[in-house]
């Protein structure tokens, strides 16, 4: 019984939250890795694009709620998501037109584009604050739980409860659908193959009659859609706070690099590696130790790192990967 309780506790406090968080990171990292592979720079504005998009989702959600529209048990935000993606994509394409396009034209070194994206990040950051402010906002509605603790205890008779929040389940479903659609698009469709071709060799893509600007626009739109979806799911799952999205950039970059920059499969794997490590290292294991080793009374909480330091986990993994396997787990391009 104690082993079962321990398993349920691990599931409830580590596996389920980390899986949802990993899926959110993976979607963010997919966008970063696509931009790295095709536009050839790491986009520092990605986190703030997520924040801006999520801000739009929240405003639209409030609007829909005021109109009395909802999706029943599902959060209203899902209804607002497509419109917010379109709006954010329009802003990102405008950014490309006024900022990045010039550097592509003059064939600037990619590091110049990285620095330009830092500038874009600050502007996006400011825009988001103007749009929605800096306060913490909860915007999830609909059913809160698929499985609640009391239900679970009733079914199983265990001491330890298990909850599956609907936002966690939605995160996994949306992330799985997004990944499936993305891989199908990249491997099967003409436009997707053109994106991979452009990533391989820009000049040859041009010689094949592929319009490079079209590939660039498509890449921005896909990356933005992934970013806004990831940001919305993250916000639904936890809460929205503009500054958190700036901070989440680090685990997202870490996920993309750990998986292998430029490799979409790697981005997904990297997202989960980072999420599991972060949650496992910051979780107090005392309760689980109590089930497994009842005689042992540890003094502390058996928490390796307090949650304030969770970003250090991404940093450490990032450094270790760059030192020992710089191309990432799935042979990306970074060396």
């Amino acid at each position: 019984m104690d082993i079962l309780n321990a398993l349920v506790a691990i599931l409830n406090f580590v596996i389920i939250p980390a899986t949802a968080y990993g899926a959110q990171l993976a979607m963010g990292a997919l966008g970063v890795t696509l931009i790295y592979g095709i536009l050839r720079f790491s986009n520092f504005a990605h986190g703030d694009t997520m924040a801006f998009g999520t801000g739009l989702v929240i405003l639209l959600t409030w609007g829909l709620q005021a109109l009395g529209l909802s999706l029943g048990p599902l959060p209203t935000a899902l209804l607002a998501l497509p419109v917010a993606i379109a709006g954010t994509a329009a802003l990102v394409l405008l950014t490309d037109r006024v900022v990045y396009r010039y550097y592509r034209q003059v064939k600037a070194d990619p590091i110049v584009l990285v620095m330009a994206s830092v500038g874009v990040m600050f502007v996006m950051n400011g825009l988001t604050r103007l749009l929605i402010g800096v306060d913490e906002i909860r915007f999830d509605d609909g059913a809160r739980f698929l499985i609640s603790v009391s239900q679970f205890k009733g079914w199983t008779g265990l001491d330890e409860g298990l909850a599956l929040r609907s936002t966690q389940a939605i995160t996994l479903v949306v992330a799985a659908l997004a990944c499936w659609a993305l891989f199908r698009f990249l491997n099967r469709s003409r436009a997707g193959k053109a994106m991979r071709a452009y990533s391989d060799n820009e000049d040859l893509a041009l010689l094949s009659g592929i319009d490079p600007e079209r590939v660039v626009r498509l890449t921005w739109i896909i990356a933005t859609a992934l970013a806004v979806a990831a940001g919305t799911l993250y916000g639904l799952d936890k809460s929205f706070k503009a500054f958190n999205y700036f901070q989440i950039l680090l685990p997202i970059f870490a996920a993309a690099i750990v998986g292998g920059l430029g490799n979409p499969v790697g981005a997904i794997a990297g997202g989960f590696v980072i999420a599991y490590s972060e949650v496992a290292v910051t979780y107090p294991w005392k309760k689980i130790a109590g089930y497994l080793l009842p005689d042992w009374q540890p003094e502390g909480l058996l928490q390796l790192l307090s949650t304030e330091y969770k970003f250090a986990v991404s940093f450490v993994i990032l450094i270790v990967v760059l030192l020992f396997r710089p191309t990432g787990l799935f042979r990306g391009k970074s060396v």
């Binding site: 064939k107 990619p110 193959k193 991979r196 990533s199 040859l204 319009d211």
Partner: protein, 276 residues
Amino acid sequence: MSDGAHGFGNRGMRDLSVVNPAGRGTVDGTRSSGRVHPGSAEAPFLAARDMRGGYGKADILNGCTITVDQGQIAVIVGPNGAGKSTAMKAIFGMLDLREGSVQLDGQDISALNPQDRVRRGMGFVPQTSNVFPSLTVQENLEMGAYIRDDDFRQTMDQVYTLFPAVAEKRLQPAGELSGGQRQQVAVGRALMTQPRLLMLDEPTAGVSPIVMDELFDRIIEIARTGISILMVEQNARQALEIADLGYVLVQGANRYTDTGAALLANPEVRRTFLGG
């Protein structure tokens, strides 16, 4: 471009955890095309006349003229640095010309960007990086047919018949093939657009003599179908043997222009450019 052109010891291209210089382009893909004018009716199928221009301030091409007629094989030979590849790029619109014009099939296309020249029937096989390494052979050919909206399976079958060796590897990434097979994929990719003019920049660079002979045979076969061929070659003697028309370029200008056989017979050309 050399490291020096980037400044700061080229650091802007080196930190691969934030930048990805692999496969970067050299051609401005944002340039849009200008207008096409009717050219002189008498001109050959391809007529690039009096081309002057280069990459920086100094010109590489100094009034060079290249023409090819329908179904002809034209070969450009010359010493290193004569501007052979530059002439090809200029014809393809990858280099801004200061003077001169490019006419294709009676139309002056000097103002078109490379993408639009492909749509007008020009195919170009660069000397290096001429396949998409992470795409399969088949996907490489599909990308060649990118501008086509019709059913291109027949053209793909023709390419596979022309190059049976790559047909066997159609599901392998092109980057895993040998040098000779890669050249075949590169030529195949260009053929997929169904070009009327096929331009090859040193197609036999780095391949064995046997593969070279075979490639030349294939090129003759392609020309027999009515496609004009313009190629730059280091293996000048072998290339001139199959050429209807040969150009000897020196310092960006035409030194000798004649049929391939006549150039091979010319003692001056033999002594100076063909090593006796």
